[in-house]
Structure formats: C-alpha cells, structure tokens
C-alpha cells in the first residue's frame, strides 16, 4: 500500500548548519507514527519542513500522489496537512470560537463548518464551556486542546502533532493521549513527536528514531522495545 505521507532524503538547513541531513520516512494511512529522539535532533525541523514553514534544501515530500515540497504553509493546509505546533500558537486575543473558525479558513460552506464546530465541542467539552472566552485566558491543557481542535477544523488527511504533552500536568497529558487514541479510532492519520516513549508506545503503530538529523531506527513498537540501546535511552533501564 502506498503511504499517505512519504518523505525522501530531506535536507533542511539553518544557514550553513544542516538540521536534517537526509531524512526518509513514510506514514501509512490511518496509522499513528511517532518520532522519537533527543532534543535538537531535528524533529521539530522535520515537522516545520513538512508543514511548509521551513523550506527544505533537498529531497521531496509527497502527500498521496501530490508533491508538496517547499510549498507555502497555507497551500499545504489546503492539501490536507495540519500542524499542531509545540508552542500551540493559539490566537490569544481571539475567542475560542473564532480560533476554530480561523482553522477552517480554507474551507467553504458555513453550515458544514458550524456542524464541525458542534462535533468538536462534543469531543472537547472544556472548549464549549469557554467558547466565548479569549484563548489567552485558557489553561495550558485547554490551549493544547484548542490547538488540536483548530487543526482538525481544516479536516486534514494528516495531523502533525509536535510534543503535545510538553509542559502539561500528568492528568492533562493522559486526556490528550485519550483524545489521540480517539482520533485514531475515527480514522485520522497522525504523525506525532513525543519525548515520552512510554506514552507513545501505548498509541503508535510505527516508530522512527531521529538522531543528529538522521533516521537511526525505524520499526514497530515491539522492535523498539527489544532494542537494548533504545530501551536504555528512551524507556529507562528498568523498562517493563
């Protein structure tokens, strides 16, 4: 089966420093794929390159049959990829409802958008309570949910999530991962960056380990857990 997202030999650089040095990976339709790796390995750079915020120097990115390498972010959103960035980037001075509408900017048809908002409010009850509030007044966890909901408003074929658990309380992290699992059940394809490998093991079907701008491991959760080196580095030596 042809993958939904296919990244080939991607090189992205900041000036002279190459943050990605030839990354290749594939994301299967309907799966959750997880990127592991230490800080500064290039995971966020990869996410930014796929989402169009950074322009890759070499290599290609395909979504289905379409080549989206180096396209502008709004074109990539229209093509069907939505990124939930690490720092969430909600519109702090706009209401929750307006944030959601902004997420649907590429779509036409007001009635359908409103019914999508209605559905998301059922999934994220906290957002319904705060619908008229400015996003800046939300807690960190609520902002994360809003960022996910805003990304879903574009009805993406592929959802990119960059460290959704970062800086959140354990209970909130649990809720976020419950939502990720739910989205997966509904058939959403997700590419996830996560430092917490234990959490990721619960939801992801495929793993990539990125180190120093290159893919150093690719495999199933089982293969990941068996790899001694990875176990020690990412699961702790006293792994289950």
């Amino acid at each position: 089966m042809a993958p939904l997202l296919e990244v080939r030999d991607l090189v992205t650089a900041y000036g002279k420093i190459e943050a990605l040095r030839g990354v290749s990976l594939a994301v299967q339709e309907g799966s959750i794929t997880c990127l592991l790796g230490p800080n500064g390995a290039g995971k966020t750079t990869l996410m930014f390159s796929i989402a169009g915020i950074l322009r890759p120097r070499r290599g290609s990115i395909r979504l289905g049959a379409r080549d989206i390498t180096g396209r502008a972010p709004h074109v990539i959103v229209a093509a069907g990829i939505a990124l939930v960035p690490e720092n969430r980037l909600v519109f702090a001075n706009m209401s929750v409802l307006e944030n959601l509408r902004a997420g649907a900017y590429q779509r036409r048809g007001g009635a359908e958008i409103e019914s999508d908002i209605e559905r998301l409010m059922l999934r994220f009850p906290r957002l319904r309570e705060r619908a008229a509030q400015n996003a800046g007044t939300l807690s960190g966890g609520e902002q994360q949910m809003l960022a996910v909901a805003r990304a879903l408003m574009s009805r993406p074929r592929l959802l990119l999530m960059d460290e959704p658990s970062l800086g959140l309380a354990p209970l909130v992290v649990e809720e976020i991962f419950r939502i990720i699992a739910e989205l997966h059940r509904d058939g959403t394809t997700i590419l996830l960056v996560e430092q917490n490998a234990h959490l990721a093991l619960q939801v992801a079907q495929h793993f990539y380990l990125i180190e120093q701008g290159k893919v150093s491991f690719s495999g199933s959760p089982g293969a990941l857990a068996e790899d001694e080196v990875i176990r020690r580095a990412y699961l702790g030596s006293a792994a289950r």
Partner: protein
C-alpha cells in the same frame, strides 16, 4: 467662555475625525506588518494630487474627485508595498522604513513635477457660511467629515469582526506564522490590508483637502505625522485606540490653540506624546512586547 470651550470642542472633533481615518490606516498597516510606513502620508498626498489634476483639467465633480483620490492613494500604496515591504517581509524593519522614506522623496518630487505651484485650490465640500446654532458656528462640511469617519469606522469594525476576511486579518495581526498554519496566506492579507488602508487614507485625504480648500506637497508629511501621532496617543494596539487617540489629538490641538495660541498648538501635542511614551503606561505596549518594530 463656556461657549468658546464648546466651539473648540466641536472644531476639535471635526479635525479629530479626519485624523481618525489616517490613524486607522496607519494602525492597519502597522498591525499586520509591524513596520513603520513613512510613505503613508505621501501616498495620500499623491491621491489628492491626482484629484487636483482632474479638477484643474476636467473640472470633474466631487464624487469623481473622491474616487480619484482613493484610486491614486491605492496605486501609490501598492507601489510602496511592492518596493519597500514585500522585499523586507521577514528581514530588517528599519531597512523597510528607510526605503519608505526614499519613496516619500519620490512622491514629493512627482507631485511638484506634475503640478509645480506650491499651493493649488481644491473645490470645497460646502461653499458658503457656517450655520449658526445657539451661538455656535457649525460648518456643514466638518459635520460631513465626522459622519463619514463614523460610518467608515463602523464598517471597518464590521468587516474585521463579522467576516471571514476580518477573521483572517485579526489572526494575521496576532501571529502570521500561526495564521499560515491555519491555512491563511499572510502575504495576501498584507497586500489586501495595504490596499484597504490606502483606500481609507485616500478618503481621509479627500475630506481633508476638500474642507481646507487647498493642496500642497506638504500634505504628505502632515498626514504621516498626524496619523502616527494619533495612533500612538491611542496606545498602539487597536483600531478603537487609534480612533480615540485621534479624537483626543483633535481636542488637544483645538484647546491649546485657543488657550496658548496657534503657534504652540503642535508643540503641545508632541510634548504630550513624548511624555506619555516616556512614562510608558502599560496600555501603550500591548503589541510591542513580543515583537517590536525593529
């Protein structure tokens, strides 16, 4: 005495209304671009010169002149945007400002090339004496300026808060990167906002010259300074602030002119602004904390 105060307040409100339009245009451009456009006033001046040229050569009616002023300002604004702001979108804010200053020189030169006299008469919105009412003299054209400014501000408010385009503009103002992740093309918003701000500036310019009855190349500098001043007085952060700042500026000018004399009028406004900025009240820093202009 009370009557004089009231009269000053009315005169100040009329002046403030025209400043409000200039300040709103400035605020829109600064809001989305975070760049100072020194050529904003000179572009307005070009629009007014286009209208004056039509008036001199074809004796066109006021409606045509107003349209010409808007069209001229939008064209000049597009020229500024392409040359000064599109190339520096992610680069140096101060390089963009210096470039916009260079275009200012071009605009002044262009105006004096086409119409070389220092001053040209412009048809008035309303000929004839002011209306006397309870001892106050009311100029119908000044009231028209107030009305037009109020309507335009209301329309703009609606545009920004009730439409899809307005949503995209506000998202871009907050964070262009986040906006692009939501599927909005910030580059397109920049261009459209520049055009919209220029159109508002064109209307403001037309109303100003049609109440003053004359056009000079100095209008460019004048409009830039008044627009900047009003925008900053309002606290740099919202359209509402810009409008309030402009009305306050009109009042300061009208009253200081009455109490201290016309030569002190502008000085009072500048010193007040400097003092306000230096005191740096928190309401003036909303936009500048995260991403300063330069």
């Amino acid at each position: 005495m009370l009557l004089d105060l009231l009269q000053n307040t009315i005169d100040g409100a009329a002046a403030g209304a025209s400043y409000a339009l200039l300040a709103v245009g400035f605020t829109l451009i600064f809001g989305v671009l975070r760049r100072v456009n020194l050529s904003y006033g000179p572009a307005v001046m070009i629009g007014c010169y286009a209208a004056t040229w039509l008036h001199l050569n074809f004796q066109s009616g006021l409606i045509v002149l107003a349209l010409a002023a808007v069209a001229g300002t939008v064209l000049a604004g597009a020229y500024v945007e392409r040359l000064c702001f599109a190339p520096h979108r992610s680069g140096s804010a101060i390089a963009a400002m210096v470039a916009s200053f260079a275009l200012w020189m071009q605009f002044e030169e262009l105006a004096t090339l086409v119409l070389p006299r220092h001053v040209y008469a412009f048809p008035l919105l309303h000929e004839g004496a002011p209306v006397e009412f309870l001892g106050l003299s009311l100029r119908p054209d000044a009231l028209a300026v107030l009305g037009v400014a109020a309507i335009l501000c209301a329309l703009l408010q609606g545009l920004l808060h009730r439409t899809r385009f307005g949503l995209a503009v506000r998202a871009t103002i907050e964070n262009p990167h986040a906006a692009s992740l939501a599927g909005i093309d910030p580059g397109r918003i920049f261009v459209l906002i520049f055009a919209l701000a220029s159109a508002i500036g064109g209307i403001a310019g037309f109303l100003i010259v049609a109440t003053h009855g004359q056009v000079t190349p100095m209008l460019g500098m004048w409009a830039t300074l008044k627009g900047l001043l009003a925008m900053m007085l309002g606290g740099l952060g919202s359209l509402r602030g810009a409008i309030v700042g402009a009305l306050v500026l009109g009042q300061i000018e009208a009253h200081s002119q009455w109490f201290l004399g016309p030569q002190w009028r502008d000085l009072v406004a500048y010193l007040l602004l400097f003092a306000l900025l230096a005191a740096n009240p928190s309401w003036m820093t909303r936009w500048t904390i995260s991403r300063s202009a330069s």
